[in-house]
């Protein structure tokens, strides 16, 4: 990789700030953070309102409280924020951009989760915050999976499809839910927590599988005599 000569600390910081500004200029961070605040506000104001959805359980109508829907929206927002107006150029970007992208994803996720949890804590029972956090992990993983496969703008597809599946088949009647219904099981339920962790890890793995990493084994195989040279980029 290009070797940056050792800059003094203030210069390195200034360079980093310039990179960050350029990075953020191409992204819609502010509007998506605003959307997260709106989701949190909606949860705080009318979070317990319930929408009716048909279910597979006979003659059943499950009710989906609004806070569950907002939990899904807030988990998808940081992944949507990965999309940039210069996405076609960024396909060939390497380590520096990836580092900024990772930082951006981490900070946006933390900010969205904090906003949602903070505003939801005003109106929702504390134990439900644990349910929100667990479902956030699962939705986040699903959004990363969809985004890595289809493009960051389409990161909503897999969470929306999973939501429809969860809400239709996950209700087992009489206020009980299937074990895989991670958005509605009680706060101390372990199987759904494990499922949420598995989905989150799958999403993070999908995120880390950049085109470089996917081609690296093939490229190493093409150059058998030069094993010492690592493939470019990370």
């Amino acid at each position: 990789m290009s070797s940056t000569a050792k800059l003094p600390d203030e210069a390195a910081a200034a360079v980093f700030r310039a990179q960050l500004r350029a990075f953020l200029a191409a992204r819609r961070t502010r509007s998506l953070l605003g959307a997260a605040v709106v989701c949190g506000a909606v949860t705080a104001l009318v979070g317990s309102w319930e929408a009716a959805v048909p279910t597979a359980v006979e003659q059943g109508r499950a009710v989906i409280p609004l806070w569950r829907m907002m939990a899904m929206a807030v988990a998808v927002l940081p992944v949507l924020a990965l999309d940039s107006r210069l996405s076609d150029l960024e396909v060939v970007a390497t380590r520096r951009l990836r580092r900024l992208q990772r930082l951006h994803l981490a900070w946006m996720s933390a900010a969205c989760l904090a906003v949602q949890a903070g505003l939801a804590a005003l109106a929702v029972h504390p134990l439900l915050l644990i349910v929100i956090a667990r479902s956030w992990l699962a939705w986040f993983g699903l959004a990363l999976l969809a985004g890595a496969l289809l493009g960051w703008r389409l990161a909503w597809t897999l969470p929306a499809a999973a939501a429809v599946i969860l809400w239709y088949w996950g209700f087992a009647g009489d206020g009980r839910y299937q074990w895989w219904e991670f958005s509605a099981r009680p706060h101390d339920d372990v199987p759904s927590l494990l499922l949420a962790l598995v989905l989150c890890s799958a999403g993070l793995v999908a995120y880390s599988l950049t085109p470089w990493r996917r081609r690296a084994p093939r490229m190493r195989a093409l150059r058998p005599g030069r094993g010492a040279e690592a493939p470019p980029g990370r």
Partner: protein, 428 residues
């Protein structure tokens, strides 16, 4: 038409079609199958996927609607020789066509499963099918409008969740979601025509949502949406049907049991139940006729000239819920108990003096009657009745499952005679 087909072939949603078709068929088939063989239930079961696929469809429609801004060709389209509204109209029509394909395929599969037994009542199926088309088009239009107002990143998420929230609100206020197709109700053609009229207005106004600031764009579909809200409130889509009169299918016996003609698939089950009814001991007084709900209804005109159905009058009725024999047996058993024990006769009976122990025996007889009429097996419904009542029921059901038939009849006759002697003047 060539232009429309061109738009359909090149729509970004054609890749979503396999997923939506799979989801529609899964929602239709991966649930109870009691609806097969009854046309109104088939139509209702076939239109349930419209709500769920509609939630995803609203997101997909928003994606298609935001395509020009996504690819940066908004300016080229506004300068085209074809009027921009016509272009948008073609794209909207292509989106609607693609969104209708999974729904219509699902209804085709549902109809094919029911047409094998060829029951009566196809017009009821068509009513539910049309209602599902309305729901799908409403979701598409909602997604399209949201896609024009929000950037292409947020639009789909907002459209999906907004569609879900709107459907929930509409269901709370107007009963928007139709879940079952009982034969005593049907989709009102007049209300359906009004809905389609409003959707047509909406489909015609949405293509004008292009060019211009978002504030003016947001105002364009408002009149049509308001019209739809008004229609949803003012004209309920599910209405009672007229009683079938002579078309009702009946099982003769000590009691005549009558069904809606659309429910003819349950006739064998009802015949077996009627045979078991005929063998009941003489201690039980049977009502002359028990109908399925709605087969015979008494029309009452009150003081102000309002007409309504009074279900307190007329012969007793039973429901067949989700094809379960327990629902009909339970209601028929209740009707027989009411006729045998004459709870309403205050002149000759004093049920107000009922002791707890005798209440338990009464409940046990009722539970035995229900279990006997079904012909065995465990109840397929859950109850949250108090434990005392559930224990009394368990006693009755144990008699129905454990003892031979003669002993059951003896036990039942003893209980009925004891209760009638205790609380009513005439014995037996």
């Amino acid at each position: 038409m060539k232009a429309l087909w061109l738009h359909v072939r090149n729509s970004p949603l054609r890749w979503a079609l396999p997923v939506l078709v799979t989801l529609d068929l899964a929602v239709l088939l991966l649930r109870g199958r009691h609806w097969i063989g009854v046309w109104p239930e088939t139509g209702a079961a076939g239109q349930i996927p419209a709500y769920l696929v509609g939630v995803l469809g609203a997101g997909a429609s928003a994606w298609a609607s935001a395509a020009p801004t996504r690819h940066g060709v908004a300016e080229q389209l506004s300068a085209s020789r074809v009027h921009p509204a016509l272009l948008e109209g073609h794209r909207l029509a292509a989106t609607a066509v693609i969104m209708l394909v999974p729904y219509l395929l699902g209804q085709l599969v549902a109809g094919a499963l029911t047409v094998r037994t060829n029951p009566p009542g196809v017009h009821l199926f068509l009513g539910y099918l049309a209602h599902g088309v309305f729901v799908t088009l409403l979701c598409v239009c909602l997604g399209w409008a949201v896609g024009k107002l929000f950037g292409s990143v947020l639009a789909s998420l907002v459209a999906s969740l907004g569609c879900l929230v709107l459907m929930g609100l509409m269901d709370q206020w107007t009963g928007f979601i139709v879940l079952t197709g009982r034969p005593d109700v049907a989709i009102d053609p007049g209300a359906l025509l009004l809905r389609f009229g409003m959707i047509a207005v909406l489909l015609v106004t949405l293509p004008w949502m292009n060019g211009g600031p978002r504030r003016t764009l947001a105002l364009v579909p408002v009149p049509a949406f308001l019209g739809i809200m008004v229609v949803l409130f003012a004209a309920p889509v599910v209405v009672d049907r007229e009683p079938p009169g002579d078309d009702a299918v009946c099982v003769a016996g000590r009691t005549t049991l009558c069904l809606w003609p659309e429910h003819e698939k349950y006739l064998p089950v009802l015949r077996e139940l009627g045979a078991r009814l005929d063998r009941l001991p003489a201690a039980f007084t049977l009502p002359p006729r028990i109908n399925e709900f709605g087969v015979e209804r008494v029309r009452v005109v009150d003081g102000q000239g309002n007409e309504f159905f009074d279900d307190e009058q007329g012969p007793p009725f039973f429901y067949i819920l989700e094809g379960s024999p327990w629902s009909s047996a339970g209601d028929i058993g209740t009707a027989i108990s009411a006729e045998t024990f004459t709870f309403e006769d205050r002149a000759r009976c004093a049920w107000g003096r009922l002791t707890d122990a005798d209440d338990g025996r009464l409940l046990a007889v009722g539970a035995w009657l229900e279990a006997y009429l079904v012909g065995g097996g465990a109840p397929d419904y859950r109850t949250n009745a108090p434990p005392r009542i559930q224990q009394a029921w368990a006693v009755g059901r144990a008699v129905a499952t454990d003892r031979p038939l003669d002993e059951q009849f003896n036990w039942a006759e003893q209980e009925v005679k004891h209760l009638r002697v205790q609380y009513c003047e005439a014995a037996g």
